[in-house]
Symmetry: C3
Subunit: 219 residues, 3 copies
């Protein structure tokens, strides 16, 4: 981008609705898959489900997300006018895909590590993640009409708040883990799962930052 | 980039061959270094080589890669017209350098951790990495002439396939590691090496994604 | 960015001083916060300070850094002309914020892990980080006047040198950790702190690379 070029994308307003709509449809579909994956992960930690089967369901959902991501990127390369700045769109779908990848990585490890007791903080983490992913879907849906961006920004603020909650949760979880457990293997396993869950929540904040940036440009 | 600007780079077709050639030469040289590093790493896990000396050879190769990367970025900042989109070129060489860095990090740890027995999954991992890095070199070589992009896309597809293979390998390796080993220090060491190897294979996929994107734009 | 567009930002020279000054003021304020955080962290490892209180002070400083980062990004989205290329500015403040985040993460873990003895390599690491963050501040200050860019590039070269020093330090620290310690929990804790410190030093190098790139464009 030349320094002086504003990223207003005013041309996009001339874009036939259908072209823009397809981008927004894909983003919303991706957000829906992510929400589904987060819900499956939370179930895995709440109830006595078959970890292997549940992890495979999450993997399936993640594959669907991958296909949506590829469709967005392909379209991005082949479309002359994009509804929001091309680089922002790229950043947006990439960060959204990171969230889904981290959810899948978490569920896989819960299965793989044969964890027979679930740490209570893990459940609390999953609950925060589900809320965060829900707010993310709401923010993504808000991109369709940037004239009403107060709600969109409220969703982003909520994601930021949840990220702080996740941060505090991680601190408590890790402190208790090292304090209570005398089994290093147990510590290694749970530490990795906590880090993955916290990363997933952090990446939601990255998505929110991209969305806020887009909203600001259209101010 | 202004939203409406297509990233066709049609101007680049007017570029005197020599300018473009230098970019492609550098990218190919970098890919060659990466392949050399991966081969050295695989040897380290296959045969009874002196780990310290081999790790130092990989470090040398990685330094050469760093210099090539710097040359590309410097040229990128000082050249008016680039053969492929400037941001894509930046992303490409950065991700390529990530692959090489992770190979070097893996070989350093194998030496540093004084690992006297090599886990069989590590050898399988290195074999997948060598294949992936080879396909990456082939894909990079395909950038010179985007009119024949079917072969280029086939190399990218192969890198994607290998990434899935690496993923399954990691799952098996980690499951066995936690299942068999009662020694947490052993687990910590190998887990980090596996994570590095899998990350290297993942970064190859990132490179493939950038290359596919470039190919699509020139469709 | 269209392929053919040079990123000279010559328009920025027409920018009223006040607009540019605000960007540079914010970047320098951020660099000052980072230096403060690094100094607090070094104190934490040097002297017998109250780890919880010190970690909270670092957290406060990191929050101030976050606010500065948000102010830069907001301004970036709303300003027609930026003193340096918009993407470079975005990369710059993002990488600068990564450094500060990693310093905060390190200090939090030192407190959280209730580490009663400090490994000597941790002190050496903190000393390298403080130097690196200082050079980073000097390089950032150099952005105001790119006509005198020799000094700026010297600061970047110094950051690169310090990164190599950090690298060698990590190697020694990790080798000794695995060699001396028979307590896996101790290994897990210190390994994470070393990795965080080394990452912080690595991210300083990323910042230096962005700054060097900017300097090259204005050559």
């Amino acid at each position: 981008m030349a320094t002086g070029a504003p990223r207003q994308g005013f041309l996009s307003r001339l874009l036939p609705a259908s072209g823009s709509e397809q981008f927004f449809d894909l983003l919303e579909k991706h957000a829906d898959r992510t929400r589904e994956a987060a819900t499956l992960l939370a179930e895995m930690l709440e109830h006595n489900v078959d970890a292997e089967k549940q992890a495979e369901r999450v993997k399936d959902v993640e594959h669907q997300g991958d296909e949506i991501t590829h469709a967005v990127i392909e379209r991005l390369h082949q479309t002359f006018i994009t509804p929001i700045d091309r680089d922002d769109m790229h950043r947006l779908i990439s960060r959204m895909d990171d969230v889904l990848d981290l959810i899948e990585a978490s569920s896989e490890r819960i299965w793989l590590y044969e964890l027979h007791t679930i740490e209570p903080e893990a459940r609390a983490f999953a609950a925060v993640l589900v809320k965060s992913v829900k707010a993310l879907g709401d923010a993504v849906r808000g991109l369709r009409d940037l004239r009403h961006r107060e709600a969109l920004i409220a969703h982003c603020t909520e994601i930021n708040r949840l990220e702080n909650e996740g941060d505090q949760l991680l601190r408590r979880a890790v402190a208790r883990l090292f304090h209570d457990s005398k089994d290093p293997i147990h510590v290694i396993k749970w530490k990795e799962i906590y880090d993955n869950l916290e990363n997933a929540i952090d990446r939601c904040e990255d998505v929110a930052n991209v969305i806020e940036g887009v909203a600001l440009e259209y101010a």
